[in-house]
């Protein structure tokens, strides 16, 4: 009894302090018209923050980055370019094809521009884009942007946008597991960067990076299909259908060849490999194709043969099978027609005028 009494008396009886007002001051969201960046800030507020609840970070925020990398901020001028291009080639496209609510619901909440690539000194890899947790997309290498180089713009920026957004989508709704089985056994997470894009195409990948792991394969398949023209896509499939043979040159670089010949047309001689631009093609009356090159040293016409495709993979078939899964998944899960999306992006990519787009910022 005594114990109970003592226990009851000594039970804590402290009253909670009443919580005071927050110590965090109200954040003034009003833009300062005198600010050096007012026009861009206004554009970003109206077109990203107010519309999609998306913060477009063009001023370096290193707390949002991996401090193990040496990264630098984006230039102000290129930030304007990417701000208007992201809208034109990405947000406006999805608004048009999937409705305005789509990106409001599933779009990233932060886009962070970074001037340099994230270079990994050990592997020599460079990261040009990151999607994190379905929330944030980081676009790297902004300072190297050459607006007059469509190939570069495609590879480093436009493709990255769609690649990273594909990640956000599959991080939200997973894609069919069947995709992961198509190239199983051919991924190489550690050494993909040492592979050749002809070699990986033949193995059924749209890029070397796609051959690193199946999630990247999935994002790369969608992104490459969206940004590649018909000619580029068909060329990829053509290369994917060939056999390739690696050869080291005198400097130690490895080149992949899909044609070879026998010196002096003698099958007993050791074969030599040749690039496709080094010979001419002849089609016989019976429709058979022959390839030749003229050996300037001997004056002989040498016949050229295709390297047999011995990797055991039907490259074009694998790529198209993956594409089809992605296409169906986008349709079924997101009600997005991939081909329509691709057409819209390509129409815009081939016709945009950066100066006109920039006026959305500069002429406010």
């Amino acid at each position: 009894m005594l114990l109970v009494a003592i226990g009851a008396m000594s039970l804590p009886s402290c009253s909670e302090d009443k919580l005071g007002d927050t110590i965090f001051p109200d954040v003034d969201e009003t833009l300062d018209p005198n600010s050096y960046t007012y026009k861009l800030d206004k554009f970003l507020k109206e077109n990203y923050l107010d519309k999609y609840n998306l913060t477009f970070l063009y001023k370096m925020a290193d707390v949002s980055t991996n401090m193990n990398y040496n990264l630098v901020p984006a230039t102000y001028d290129n930030s304007i370019n990417l701000a208007v291009l992201c809208k034109h080639l990405w947000f406006d496209v999805y608004d048009k094809l999937a409705g305005e609510d789509f990106l409001k619901t599933y779009g990233p909440r932060i886009i962070h521009l970074i001037g340099s690539p994230a270079l990994n000194p050990q592997s020599g890899n460079e990261i040009v884009g990151l999607a994190e947790g379905g929330i944030k997309i980081s676009l790297f290498k902004v300072n190297d942007m050459d607006i007059n180089d469509p190939e570069m713009m495609n590879e480093y920026y436009f493709k990255t946008m769609h690649h990273e957004f594909a990640h956000i989508l599959h991080q939200t709704k997973t894609y069919p597991n069947q995709f992961n089985t198509i190239s199983v056994g051919h991924y190489d997470i550690n050494n993909w960067q040492d592979r050749d894009d002809n070699q990986t195409a033949s193995l059924g990948f749209v890029s070397t990076y796609a051959s690193s792991e199946f999630r990247e394969d999935f994002a790369e398949t969608i992104a490459n299909y969206i940004v590649k023209t018909d000619a580029e896509w068909n060329r990829l499939l053509e290369l994917a259908g060939r056999g390739w043979e690696p050869q080291d040159d005198a400097n130690g670089y490895t080149w992949y060849y899909c044609y070879f010949y026998y010196p002096n047309n003698d099958p007993n001689e050791e074969v030599k490999y040749i690039s496709e631009w080094s010979f001419f093609t002849d089609v016989n009356e019976d429709g058979s194709v022959h390839r030749y090159f003229y050996d300037g040293n001997t004056g002989e016409v040498i016949e050229v043969y295709e390297v047999p495709d011995n990797d055991g993979v039907d490259g074009p078939d694998a790529i198209l099978e993956k594409l089809n899964i992605a296409r169906q998944w986008l349709k079924n899960e997101w009600n997005i027609d991939l081909d329509e999306l691709r057409q819209e992006v390509q129409d815009r990519q081939s016709s945009y005028n950066i100066e006109e787009l920039r006026k959305q910022v500069t002429d406010q």
């Binding site: 005594l2 114990l3 003592i6 226990g7 000594s10 039970l11 804590p12 009886s13 402290c14 302090d17 110590i23 965090f24 001051p25 300062d32 005198n34 600010s35 050096y36 960046t37 063009y58 001023k59 370096m60 925020a61 290193d62 707390v63 401090m67 990398y69 040496n70 990264l71 630098v72 901020p73 984006a74 230039t75 102000y76 930030s79 001037g115 340099s116 690539p117 270079l119 990994n120 000194p121 020599g124 460079e126 300072n143």
Partner: protein, 452 residues
């Protein structure tokens, strides 16, 4: 029973101690204001400091501990822009015309991290080059074989923890790599280009490659040899010690005020960092007002065997001037000879110092340059005094001009012998004495001026 009673007591005590929880909720207030308010105040405080009085600053920037420091001029504006101007060899790689000067406007902010941080948060090509992970090819390298392709760049910071403001100087520390950086307020009307040009000219005047070494002169009379000053990465070791095993590398920055080490360094117990340039060209330590950096006694500098001194005949005075006139006149009548120049040098083959007259004469119908060499010895009187004694030995060319049966120009020997008197040496820079004035003791009109 007693045993059970003891257990009961112990249980009571334990229970009481467990349940007697302190109800004291008050926390001790160390600061008058909460952390957020203090941080906001600090942000405003440093923002105001940076933009005040025209917002112009000199930054003494180090990218890392292995490179020299670089000076930048920065103009901070209230609208969030900053103009950054610099002049160094790395900038030349960024300019199509190869100019070492560059100026560009970008963005800045004071943000609140763990404390107030000055961030340059949009890319400025002339400043962020030291933070860029790009490959590094030294513009002064002969080829690109030394290109650094490690993918980490110079590892320079562009965000700085703001530590302290005192006496128009901001003390900061690089946020990522922790290197100390100083900013000093400049007059808002200063022209960036002029300021940077002056700074570069100052740096160029400090150390001369031709002077192989200078000295850190400590208050206790000991000296440290200082080499490679022209690279702004000093190689230093105690005089008389084994340079291979005792040498230290110290990177420095040269500004219009003087020279600073990146960090305080201790030499024989004396800690030094900042040196102000004096009117005589020497560097005086701002920390102890005693330690200096100079090239050493002038007579010993004049005697450095790798140096060739050339007389500035336009500045000869007194007997030197008169003798030179005699020589010029006399030679003109002998094989159409013409005096060209007068030099002092060390002849390593003859293992001797020499006075060399460069003369052009007609030989076999052709005008050819000839050197007439006279051996001399140096006699050091004290640190700044010197006698140059003629040994009486001369080469065949010298005989050609001096001998009575040939050029018969005794004024040459007379001029040389004038140098045998005692001369006091002076220079325009005790740190880089590339010029040397000789004034004869007791006869100040007799002067001769030498340049490297």
């Amino acid at each position: 029973m007693r045993k059970y009673f003891n257990i009961f007591l112990l249980t009571l005590v334990a229970l009481a101690s467990v349940t007697m929880v302190s109800c004291k909720n008050e926390t001790e207030e160390i600061f008058d204001q909460d952390a957020i308010t203090r941080l906001a105040n600090a942000k405003q405080y440093f923002t105001d400091i940076l933009t005040d009085q025209g917002g112009k600053w000199k930054m003494e920037y180090y990218a890392n501990g292995d490179e020299p420091g670089y000076v930048y001029v920065m103009t901070f504006r209230n609208n969030g822009s900053v103009t950054i101007s610099g002049e160094n060899k790395w900038i030349s790689q960024l300019n199509p015309d190869g100019s070492t000067y560059g100026s560009e406007t970008s963005l800045w902010d004071v943000i609140t991290d763990n404390g107030p941080v000055l961030t340059f948060n949009s890319y400025n090509k002339y400043f962020h080059l030291f933070a860029d992970p790009d490959d590094i090819t030294d513009p002064e390298a002969l080829d690109d074989s030394d290109t650094d392709e490690t993918g980490i760049g110079h590892e320079g910071d562009y965000e700085f923890d703001l530590m302290k403001y005192s006496g128009d100087t901001l003390y900061m520390s690089g946020k990522k790599y922790g290197i100390n950086v100083i900013m000093t307020r400049l007059d808002g009307s200063i022209d960036d280009r002029e300021y940077m040009d002056q700074t570069v000219a100052q740096a160029d005047s400090f150390f001369k490659k031709v002077i192989p070494q200078v000295y850190l002169n400590l208050p206790n009379g000991k000296r440290w040899v200082v080499k490679d000053g022209y690279t702004s990465i000093l190689t230093m070791y105690p005089e008389g010690s084994d340079s291979i095993t005792t040498a230290e590398k110290h990177n420095v920055i040269i500004t219009l005020d003087g020279l600073s080490f990146m960090n305080p360094n201790t030499f024989d117990g004396y800690t030094v960092q900042f040196f102000d340039r004096q009117a005589d060209g020497s560097l005086l330590c701002r920390n102890d007002h005693q330690t200096t950096i100079t090239a050493g006694p002038l007579n010993k500098v004049f005697a450095i065997q790798s140096l060739t001194w050339k007389a500035d005949t336009s500045q000869m005075g007194g007997a030197f001037k008169a003798k030179l006139h005699e020589i010029i006149n006399k030679l003109s009548g002998y094989n159409s000879s013409k005096f060209l120049s007068l030099q002092m040098a060390y002849d390593s083959k003859a293992n001797s110092y020499s006075i060399i007259f460069n003369i052009r004469s007609k030989v076999k119908g052709k005008q050819v340059p000839l050197t007439a060499t006279f051996k001399v010895n140096y006699e050091m009187i004290n640190d700044n005094q010197l006698k140059i004694k003629y040994t009486g030995e001369m080469d065949d060319n010298a005989h050609f001009y001096v001998d009575a049966d040939q050029g018969n120009c005794p004024a040459i020997i007379e001029l040389i012998e004038l140098l045998g008197n005692t001369y006091t040496l002076s220079t325009s820079s005790l740190l880089a004495p590339t010029d040397m004035r000789f004034v004869e003791d007791g006869n100040a009109s007799n002067t001769i001026y030498w340049r490297l």
